[in-house]
């Protein structure tokens, strides 16, 4: 869903940069206030993994493919959507400048869609569902919805840009990203969270719900 330069006129692209900037600044503030030195290697490894997996396009039929975005996964692991914004910003910078994947002018829009929207929707959907569901199901649903909503946001930007018609654009983008979100985002995020919960349960302890659960278990013991 990386928007190339030519898809959005420069004046719109600047507005999206201006809108993205406070989120980027807040994500740096998150690091300054919350990023434990011990967790820097975790952040770097997740960022590298997300860059690599974004190059792995999965076929979804209809002559179309798609890949994971990863903001929800990072947000869940770090217990904050700001971590997702931060990692996606770093990944998009490298993709845009070194690989022409996503434009430079449109990077603000791409950061808003893939970092902010998919990170926030993914994380908060996960958090709400986590109250009643297991981590793997909550992660699946959060990541899936996060990707879908970010595709819808992207379509609206392209409609405002005069590039896409609204209704057929929403139908095409919505259909493709429901499928991409199911496999590419939901399943992979769920598998990764399950693997981390098994091998490194302490990593997920920032997660509010896990913390509550642990406190309850301890109180019962």
């Amino acid at each position: 869903m990386h928007i190339p330069d030519s898809f959005i006129p420069l004046d719109h692209a600047i507005i999206y940069w201006v809108l993205a900037l406070p989120f980027i600044i807040m994500s740096v503030k998150w690091a300054k206030n919350e990023l434990d030195e011990m967790k820097v290697p975790i952040l770097a490894a997740l960022a590298a993994g997300i860059f690599a997996i974004q190059a792995m396009n999965i076929p979804i039929g209809m002559g179309t493919s798609g890949h994971m975005v990863g903001a929800a996964l990072v947000a869940i692991v770090f217990g904050s959507p700001w971590a997702g914004v931060l990692v996606l910003t770093l990944v998009l910078l490298v993709q845009g400048f070194a690989f022409a994947d996503g434009g430079i002018t449109t990077m603000g829009a791409n950061i808003l869609n893939m970092g902010v929207v998919s990170g926030f929707v993914g994380y908060y959907t996960y958090s709400i569902l986590r109250r009643g569901l297991s981590a793997n199901i909550a992660a699946f649903a959060g990541a899936w919805l996060g990707l879908f909503i970010s595709a819808i946001t992207c379509t609206i930007q392209l409609w405002l840009a005069g590039t896409f018609p609204l209704v057929s654009g929403l139908i095409a983008m919505g259909t493709f990203h429901l499928i991409i979100g199911f496999i590419g985002e939901g399943l992979i995020t769920s598998v990764a969270i399950t693997a981390i919960a098994k091998s490194r349960p302490d990593l997920l302890e920032d997660d509010l719900n896990t913390r509550t659960e642990r406190a309850e278990t301890e109180a019962m013991a």
Partner: protein
Amino acid sequence: MSGRANKKFFYFGIAVALMIAILAPFLASPDPDGLESAAAGVVDESKLSDLEESGPVISSPMPDYSIEGMGKSGEVAAIAAGTLAVLAISFGFGKVFKKKA
């Protein structure tokens, strides 16, 4: 727990990322992604070719994760280089902007 275990996660993460970088050029679907595919479906042809002709505003060293004239091995090298660049940048960023003890 966490110091050594986090290092293990770090090296494991790098190994998985590089494995994906090596496999991606062979396994990844060459089909257009959701956005490109939607554009081909809903934007009329002349407008779409205009959009495609006006390329990126800056030229990139490795457009489309490839190195000119190097085929699949160039793609592996490009994705691996990007993976290591993201790793180094996020590690450096983390070291500079981490929470002060």
